[in-house]
Point group: C2
Chain length 199, copies 2
Amino acid sequence: MRDAGAGSNRSERRDAAENRRRILNAAITLFEQHGVQPVSMNQIAIEAQIGSGTLYRRYGNKSELCLDLIKDNMFLLFEDITAYMAQNRADPPSQRLTGLLRLFIRFREKKAQLLKGVEESGPGDRLRYRTRNPLYNELHQLIVGLFDEMGAGQAQPNSVFKADMVLMALSSDAYSFQRDVRGYSPELILEKICSTFVS
Amino acid sequence: MRDAGAGSNRSERRDAAENRRRILNAAITLFEQHGVQPVSMNQIAIEAQIGSGTLYRRYGNKSELCLDLIKDNMFLLFEDITAYMAQNRADPPSQRLTGLLRLFIRFREKKAQLLKGVEESGPGDRLRYRTRNPLYNELHQLIVGLFDEMGAGQAQPNSVFKADMVLMALSSDAYSFQRDVRGYSPELILEKICSTFVS
DNA sequence: TATATAAACGGAGAAGTCTCCGTTTGTCAA
DNA sequence: TTGACAAACGGAGACTTCTCCGTTTATATA
């Protein structure tokens, strides 16, 4: 799990590995101290005692750095999800979807700041959709599967689109909006999503 | 329509009005020439031959400037919508919703770049939701009304939430994703939205 | 017309992201 | 052990967004 950091190339040079550790440690320290959003890449470089060029060669932006920081937790989430899906394979798909979303929402509550950090790429958005991070595709596939099961009889289950909508509803922006502006609790949001998309 | 620019205070000083014209002209010129996203506030200030402080006092960020540039078109859109709603008040609400969304999608296709400019506020997102621009509340209210009509019999129509979801689906990010990544046409997106949320 | 004054101006500069490129350094083969 | 050299380093600097504040100016009032 340590050297899966940025794709498994031919082994990493020792100084590079050392710097990666320093970067991650610095980021963790600063994020714990000030939160994710207000910490700049420069601050991280300084805290890690490396040049900013070095930082940027490894992580093209803060988003990538945040991603590296929650990768481990993401693996754990997927283990939980996989276990849940296996244990409850007899339940109707709508119920499994609820369970899956509940796990994800729990994760999102715990890692809200980093997740937000992952989803925003900074200024000059180069044609990147906030929706495209590794989490997305994995979850999307699972959800499409469940919608397909639910709509097995229908002509057009529209599972791909519906899954996109569900995940959109769980993006940092939409989710925080429901939390903070609409004032809904996580459990209520889950309920509303299910009642809207499962019906 | 000219002096409704930023709220109707006691009349605008002549030099200020002049500068506003210059800013808007500069922005239009540059946006036509290079597109919205790659043009910086500095470039606009230079093209308008004013100091950047002057530009920023009038428009706190590019988003506000873009908003001013489509305001007129937004009014036209709302006129269209109001007319449509009046002419078709006898139709079932689901059909009126489709019509409303079709009008909005047409608008969004025409003003895609500026709309994207409006929705992104630049780096350092100060607790602002991409979803909060004037368009949002107006449309949201209309859509909530239609959902309420549709679900008049049900216990929890969840109209507010559903309206949020529909508008989320029509945000620049989600919409472009469906267009560019999923490869759906505007008409197909409209269909999918309706079949997902109207059921 | 003169003048006080609130409003508007403008540009230096703080702080951030990210690139470029000359320098340094691990590593591997000889 | 010794080069050779790809890889990694680092910081200057280009370009942004946005603020601060001393200066200028349009306008209302006397």
